[in-house]
Symmetry: D2
Subunit: 189 residues, 4 copies
């Protein structure tokens, strides 16, 4: 069933963010090797996100050991930027009692789509992304994902056995310059 | 079933607002005599409002002839005022495709509770209010109201027969000074 | 909203039954004058009945004073008669914890549709029927009825005021021979 | 999350049945090696089965390639036997449009619990059972299982890699006499 929505074996690009909520340190995908990662890209005023995606993401966050499944929110604002700033997002996260780390996708000076959203070629919000233990993109889906499909996908990735050698290799293969913010303005050395 | 949640025969106080969306003219309760009025008091970042109250209010708005049942939203901001201003509310109404008139409860200079919310002694959001054809408060409930209870209550008020004399009398009984904004700062003459 | 599904002012025909569950006495509509009557016609192996209609009917039964709203089930078997007999129905009612009276629509010797179902021209199951305080048919709908619509309809009928004279008149207007079972085999005198 | 409900590495006992629906041949677990097996044990008049378990089982049946996930129903009647016989079950399966194979758990002459239900020590209905590619019991849960948990569990079992040698070994390890029906009447040699 999950063939159509799976992108196999492309390295998940590192996040490019302007800040974080619910964490003292910025989260990098590189730091999550060995875990399955669920990333929920949303906008706080997007009905499909608020009514379906966010509650589903909270369910995953509540049910799994964070050492096995890491849950990340990503606030990918591409419209109405003025009323979805960090202060509004903080109130949203407080009112909806969100506890998982939420990155703020870095705004793009030249266009409305923020950096990570563009790098991932997201079609809009909500977008559900799953990354496997070695940092590869395995699910990338715009719109609603059923609890059942999400469960099957997470179960599949959890069951994959990864050797210490593979993990060590996956930790190294993210070039330093990409992690520090390679974007359409060019890559910093 | 609806005994507990019904407040009988108190005149519904006039709305005290700082602006309106989805209408060219401010809406007054006095102008709605002869109709059953559903007023949904909400905050745009209140989860119970967004996930239950707002969709239910839209359903009522979609299913009834507006000549029989008038639907009004009331944005009663009592916390996080900075991120729930008019500009944010407009985006919210646009994204959620709300078409019914939405009043902005008039902020209170001396405390966080806005004027209409205080006048109605609301306990929080969401609050569901039903007003009968002669302008009396008939349902006033904080929190979730089931579709079934709301339906029974609206059906009951719709079925009540009101004579032309009663309607005419109800139009007159709202003192002018109250309509123009009697509040805790005192009443203007 | 409820114009389309309302049949106005036709006298609800008396029930023609072969037995009852959850009551020591057969229930007649004539005995329920002064109350709003919800009658849910179902088959115990009909998915739409079991998954939607029966839970909704139980909700109405649980929420209303039985002196104001009388709830009746009617088992209108028109297919697979062999496995939906009284013994099976009793198990069904026990397992689903149904407490309201359930009439067994009288089987018809000459065809598959039972008597009451034919008299009411029902299109299938589930069928939801509302009868007002004076015994008139006011809602007659095949398939799913939303909680909201059912609530509005019950509220409307509850609010109708009926004088003692009207009630007394309604008690008399059901001819005796019809009550005792006028069917396609002919009417007993 | 699925630690509590997982029984690890016990061989799933073979089914002991009195008949099958939706298949020309009886289904044996031995014939399903190499596939993940979902077995839903139910009774046709059990509310939790009809309102939750059966629709969930149909969803799994509809979404997966039957070469990867085999779905089986098992009608484990332990009460009201008279009205849940094969003829009634056939009507139930027809009305609910069930297409997956359904075994009829073999009635036990000496007590109400049928054979397979007893062998599996089921606590009641619905019971959800998952068997891995090598025929081991991996989930055994009485009552409601969330779509999410069921998905995670199926995904986990699907992802497990099994060598041809392991599969071949698993095919052989079911003693012939057990397959032919070892029960409380004694074991045939």
């Amino acid at each position: 069933m999950n063939k159509n929505t799976t992108v196999e074996k492309i390295k998940a690009p590192e996040l490019i963010t302007a800040g974080w909520l619910n964490t003292s340190e910025p989260v990098t995908l590189a730091s999550l090797r060995g875990k399955v990662v669920l990333m929920h890209a949303f906008q706080m005023l997007c009905p499909g996100c608020v009514q379906q995606g966010i509650p589903q993401t909270q369910q995953v966050f509540n049910e799994f050991d964070p050492e096995r499944v890491a849950v990340i929110g990503l606030h990918t604002v591409f419209e109405h930027h003025a009323v979805m700033g960090r202060d509004a997002l903080e109130v949203f996260a407080y009112e909806y009692r969100l506890r998982f780390p939420i990155g703020i996708d870095k705004p793009n000076e030249k266009q409305v789509i923020p950096h990570t959203m563009m790098t991932y070629h997201m079609q809009g919000t909500p977008t559900t992304i799953l990354i496997d233990k070695t940092g590869h993109l395995r699910l990338h889906k715009f719109g609603h994902v059923s609890d059942f499909l999400l469960g099957v996908s997470i179960g599949t990735l959890l069951a994959e056995e990864v050797s210490d050698e593979e993990l060590a290799a996956s930790a190294d293969d993210q070039p330093e310059e990409t992690q520090s913010g390679c974007d359409d303005e060019g890559c910093r050395i």
